[in-house]
Structures are given as structure tokens and as C-alpha cells.
């Protein structure tokens, strides 16, 4: 046996022994490679870019922590932080609550239930631009249906989209509406997973509707609640498309009232060509998401029932 043959047969035995693993790696290769190239590499690159003054059109210079210092002195960043906070901490809890109510309503055996289930999912798969356009009409000061309702109830028109105090609320409402269907589907699946006998047992034991809900339903779907809340938070903190499209000028206005963190990153990077600072903002956003997810993950031990 020559040396080559020995090595070759060695490889062959190794391959034979790890056959199944190799097949597994082959099948996950496309996913992993895409992840490595487009996610992991880009993420690591942004860390590097955040220490430079890269303006896209010129080679970058290393500037140390200057971008991070700027972060703390930047009034627009703090404004964006507050806006993102309102957008998220109002939008997500309200969205989760409404979705749960709707899911329970849609879990009934009534006629045409499929139609309603589809209807609530439509916004999720609709283009944000189209959704924003429709809602801009709804919110319009003079011609909007919302103000028409307000006026017919004796109120005065609110200039939803141009008032710095209402525009973010309007955007939050749209984002809740858009994502509702996704949350409802998850809850619906969880609700349908609840064994009938548990509910029957609760009824026989004399549990009222409210008790059934808090003692049986909520604990059993708590993993779904956790999942929907975490993904909801991550999605809302990254909120961009609705605020971008609900302004004709795409300016995050009026007067920065709809400038979210994600919007500010876009503006810095692609409008102002300050990639270094944009990367710094992105890392700040990443840390915020990490923190929120970490807190929620820790809280799951207290509130989430029986992880499978």
C-alpha cells in the first residue's frame, strides 16, 4: 500500500463514518453561507466601520471613538431614541393585546371564519408603501375619513400627519394594524393547541370565563406570547418603512417627529454618506435590541409556562 492509497482509504473511512453529517452540512450550506456573507460578515464589518469616518466615496480613516462621542452629543440621536421608544413601547403591548383578543374571536366556530382570518392577514403581506398611502388618506386633515368621523361626532379636525404631537401616534397605529395579522396567526395556532379536555376539566371544576382565560389559556399560550412580544419588539425598534413612507418628503418629519433610529441610520448612511457614524448608530440599535431581548428572555422563567 502506497502512502497515497493509505491516506485515500483513511479519508474514505472517515467519509463513510460521517456520511449523514456530511449530507446534513450540504443541505444547510446555502443557508449558512448566505448567513455568513450577508449577516455575520456585514455585522462584523459595521463594528469596524464604526471606528472610521468612511464616507463611501473616499477611503476611510480610523477615528477611534469619535463617532461614539458624537452619539452622546447628538440631539437628533436622542430625539430618535425617544421616538423609537414611544413607537415600540406603545405599539408592541397594544398590538399583542389586540392580537390576542382577535385570535380568541377568530378561534370560534362561526360562519365565514376563514374569510376573517385571511382578511386580518392581508396587511402583513401588503406593501408598506400602499399601506402608508391608504392611511395617509385616512388621516388627512380635510378629506380624511377619521376626521370626518370626529367632525360628525362634534369634534374638530386633527391634523394627524402634520402635528408633531400626533404624527408618531398615527404611525404607531399603522404599524400595529400592519403587524396584527402575523401576531393573530401565531396566537391562533397556540390557542388551537390547547387540549379540549383541559378546558372541559376547568369548566367542570366551575371555572368562569375569566378564570379559564387567566388560569388555563394564558399559561398554555405563554410561549407564543413571549415569541410574539420578542419579535414584535425587534421589529418595532427597527421600525422604518411606515415612518419613511408616511411622509411624502421621506424626511422623518415634521420637525423630526417621526425620525426613528432606523430612519436616522438610513439618513446618515445613504443620504448624508456618513457610513462611519451610521454604523455607530446601528451598533447602538443592536445593543438596545440585545438588551430588550435579554430582559425578556430572563423574564420568561417567571411568566412562561412549560417550555417544550
Amino acid at each position: 500500500m502506497s502512502k497515497f492509497q493509505r491516506v485515500f482509504s483513511g479519508v474514505r473511512t472517515w467519509v463513510a463514518r460521517h456520511r449523514e453529517q456530511l449530507w446534513a452540512y450540504l443541505f444547510i450550506a446555502p443557508g449558512i453561507l448566505t448567513f455568513l456573507v450577508f449577516n455575520l460578515f456585514s455585522t462584523l464589518a459595521s463594528v469596524g466601520i464604526s471606528f472610521t469616518d468612511w464616507r463611501l466615496l473616499k477611503p476611510p480613516n480610523f477615528v477611534g471613538l469619535a463617532n461614539y462621542q458624537r452619539l452622546f452629543a447628538d440631539p437628533v440621536f436622542s430625539k430618535a431614541l425617544v421616538n423609537t421608544g414611544i413607537y415600540t413601547f406603545v405599539g408592541v403591548p397594544v398590538g399583542v393585546f389586540l392580537a390576542l383578543l382577535l385570535a380568541m374571536a377568530l378561534n370560534q366556530q362561526i360562519k365565514g371564519i376563514t374569510f376573517f382570518r385571511v382578511a386580518y392577514y392581508m396587511p402583513v403581506i401588503s406593501a408598506s408603501v400602499a399601506i402608508a398611502m391608504v392611511w395617509m388618506w385616512i388621516f388627512s386633515r380635510d378629506y380624511g375619513i377619521l376626521n370626518y368621523l370626529i367632525r360628525s361626532l362634534g369634534g374638530t379636525s386633527v391634523d394627524w400627519l402634520n402635528n408633531t404631537k400626533t404624527v408618531l401616534l398615527a404611525a404607531t397605529i399603522v404599524s400595529i394594524w400592519k403587524d396584527l395579522g402575523f401576531k393573530v396567526i401565531i396566537f391562533l395556532a397556540a390557542l388551537q393547541d390547547i387540549p379540549e379536555d383541559l378546558m372541559d376539566a376547568a369548566k367542570i371544576d366551575g371555572a368562569r370565563w375569566w378564570q379559564q382565560f387567566t388560569r388555563v389559556v394564558v399559561p398554555l399560550i405563554s410561549p407564543a406570547i413571549l415569541y410574539v412580544t420578542i419579535t414584535g419588539f425587534i421589529g418595532a425598534v427597527q421600525g422604518f418603512d411606515i415612518v419613511y413612507n408616511m411622509r411624502f418628503d421621506h424626511d422623518g418629519g415634521p420637525a423630526r417627529a417621526t425620525t426613528t433610529l432606523a430612519f436616522y441610520i438610513w439618513e446618515m448612511g445613504f443620504s448624508n454618506l456618513r457610513m462611519g457614524y451610521a454604523a455607530t448608530l446601528a451598533i447602538a440599535l443592536f445593543l438596545i435590541i440585545l438588551l430588550i431581548t435579554f430582559i425578556q428572555w430572563r423574564l420568561r422563567k417567571r411568566f412562561v409556562y412549560a417550555e417544550v
Binding site: V15, L56, L57, R141, D142, A255
Partner: protein
Amino acid sequence: MKQRNRYILLFAVLLALLALSACGASPEEAEKQEPEAVETSADVSSISEEIKESEEADEGAEESEQETEEPEAEGSVWDFEAEPVEISVMSFFASDNLEVEQGVVDAFEGAYPNIKVSYENISFSDYFTVVTTLAAGNDLPDVLAMNFEEEARYADLGVLEDLTPFIEKENFNLDKYYASTVRMHQHSGIQAGLPATFSIVINFYNKTMFDEAGIPYPTEDWTWDDLVDAAQKMTQDVDGDGIIDQFGYVVGWWPNFVYQNEGTILNEEGRCGLTSPEAIEGLQLMVDLTLDPEQKIAPDRAELSASGDWDRFMAGGVGILPNGTWAITPFKENIEDSFEWDVMPFISFNKQATFMFGNAYSMTSTSKQKEAAWEFIKFATGEEGSRIRQAGEYETSPVKAVGAKDFIESTNGVPEHAEYFLDATEYAILPVAHPLWGEIHGIIWPELELALLGEQGVEEAMTAACDGVDTLLEENGY
């Protein structure tokens, strides 16, 4: 045996995957790596050497010689006998009618058979995203269409080649362009492009609405008071539902209100000048025309967000609209016969000042075929290229011989007084073209918007804006 084959296959697939992910070259890149392309780039250096040699041999004589042979190539030093080269050109001109700029490219290829142009047109809304991405990937074309505001930034960042040496080398005559259009493309001490089009803002007006309100058509002698009187008569709640649905006027771009009152955005020291009494007074008028019930002749921010100024004008809801040359074609197509319209001079409340905008063809500093790129720029901005573009009704030609005559002809009598656009070159001014203009505007506008919404006073707004702008300028060493 069968199994081993399978592993060989598996290995091959993995390798192919790796190759795909590692060098995800775009088709264009792949093309460039082909041997023929390498040969052409080698040819360029020999061509430029040849040009140098021939220049040394017979300076001056060549120019006249070529003019007789190739009348299209005016003042050209291009060697028509040389091996073909390829240049890439990217443009946003006339994106809604692709044949227009393609016609310019075809004409160039006809006149210069040994320069092949790989041409791409991208709509303006995506154009600078694409260009920036290409610049970041060091893959810019040889020639870029530029609007003068972005040009300022690109020139500052060193992306654009200074055309002065090319102009001087062959004594290229810049007098054929309107001088202001040439000046418009000088940034950061370089001639960053040659003018391809320009446009000017004057007033469009709805003749039918004037008739209905019983107001005689505006004349060249109109003053600001005449305009306000007419606009007040036209500002009405026509259907009586309590909402004003017809406006006499629309406030245009905010810097206009500053310059009309002899204010400046950036003062002589290069700092924010918006806190000056002139600037504040001008902007206060802008606010009053939309918000003060006594003076209201124009839609406010909310009314404009319900329906924009273009839509309102095209729907017959605006009497007088300040807007640019670019609006002529869309207005013709959308208004059709629903009402009569024309243009009138821009009317200012203090100093006659309107804005001139413009586009250029620029050469990228990374271009490997600068001589050929220069020939393209000269041709596409010159008389012949300009004439094709003008016939396609894309803005106004900065070439005097074309702009003055063909522009008026291309409008076919609508608007009737198209010459007012050309007259406005006399009093038009260039907007600020600072490399940081986008960011400067991003600081001023939110503050001004609060004033336009009535949420803060103009002076307060401008004080806050100037603080931000001055900090930005200082931090960036301006």
C-alpha cells in the same frame, strides 16, 4: 465505487458553492475580466501616447485638419484611426422617455465609430443610490450625469475629474454655453462637469381661473402687489364646505424667500446667515402667506400634504404656481384641454431673484479612458447632443445656439410665452451648492417646518437652525 462517485459529486457541488459565494462577480465585472477588454485598456495608453506624439509633431495643424474631415468633432484631438475603445456612461436624463438620451449616445457613436458607449439610464430617484454604491465598490463608469447639488459633494470627495486641463489643452471654447451654466459646475476649485441642461423657476398660471375671477392676464410689469391682489381674489372655498379648495398662489422653495429679501443662507464668512433681519423677514412672509388668515393666498403644510402643489395645479386648483422648466412636459400631458395655462415672469416681493438649476456630464477620476470620455462629454453637451435632448423636451439646452431657438420651438406654442424662461437667465441666481448642503438642509428644514406649522416663531426657528448649521460646518472644517 458507486458511493465514491457520489462523494466526488458532493465535493464538486461544495466547491461550486464556495466559488459562488467567494467571488460573486456581477455579469458586467465578469465581462470586464475577459481578455478583449484587457486589450482595449492597453490600447488606451497607446492612443494617448499617439495623441501626445501627434501633438508634438504638428500642433494646431491637426485641429483644422480634423474639422474638415469630421465636422461633428469640433475641436477634437481624437484619433479616428485608432483601435476601438469602450467607455461607460450613466445618466438620469429624460428617464421617462429613454429614446431621448439614447439618441444622443447613438449620434455620438455614429460620429466616433471607434468609441463604443455602454450606456445606462437610471431614474433620478434611484440614480444617486446606484452611483454611490458603484463608487463604494470602485466600479464607477467613465462618464456620469450629475445635478449640480450632488456634483458639489462628489467633487469635494474627489470622485470627479477636473476638466480644466482638457479644456486648456485644446483651447476648448466655453463661450458657446451660457456662462452661468458653466460656473454652476465649478466646485471645490475644479470644473467638475460641462453643462448638459438647465432649468429655471418662473410662474405658471391658470388662464381659465384668471378669466373666471375676471382678472386680466399678468404682464411683464406686474408687481408683487398685483400678484397678491389677483391671488387673493382666486383663493376661495368654491364648494362652500368650509375648506379652501382653490388657491391663488403656492409658496415655492423656501430659500427663495430668503434671497428675494436680500438675505443669504450662508454668509460671507461661510456661516449660517439665516438669523439676519432680511432672512427672517422673508421667511416670515412665507409663513404668513400660508397661515395668516388675513394674508392667506397659498396652501399650508397640511393642505399640501393632503394634495401637493403639482396635483393641485394640474387639477385646476391653483392660480399661480412658481415652478421650473421641468414641469412643462408633465403639465402638457396631464392638463391637456381641461384648462388654459401659460407662464409669466417670476415676481418677487423685493429683489428679483429666482433659481436656476442644472445638470452636467462629468468625468470620474477613476476613469481609465479619459480621452474618450472627454470626447463624449464634449459631444453630449455640445450643439449636436444638446439639440437632440432639446427636441426631446428635456429641460433647456445651455448651448446658446440651441437654447434660444430650439427650446422655444420644442414647446410648440404651449406655454405661449416660453421665452420668459430664457429672460429669467438674466436675474436668476444659483442655489447654494455646498458639499454639506444635504446635511445643512436637514438641520434647517425641521426648524423651519415647525414655523410653517405655526408651532414656533421664525426667529426662534432660525436661531436654532443656525446653531446646528454652524456646529456642523465647524466640525467639518468649513
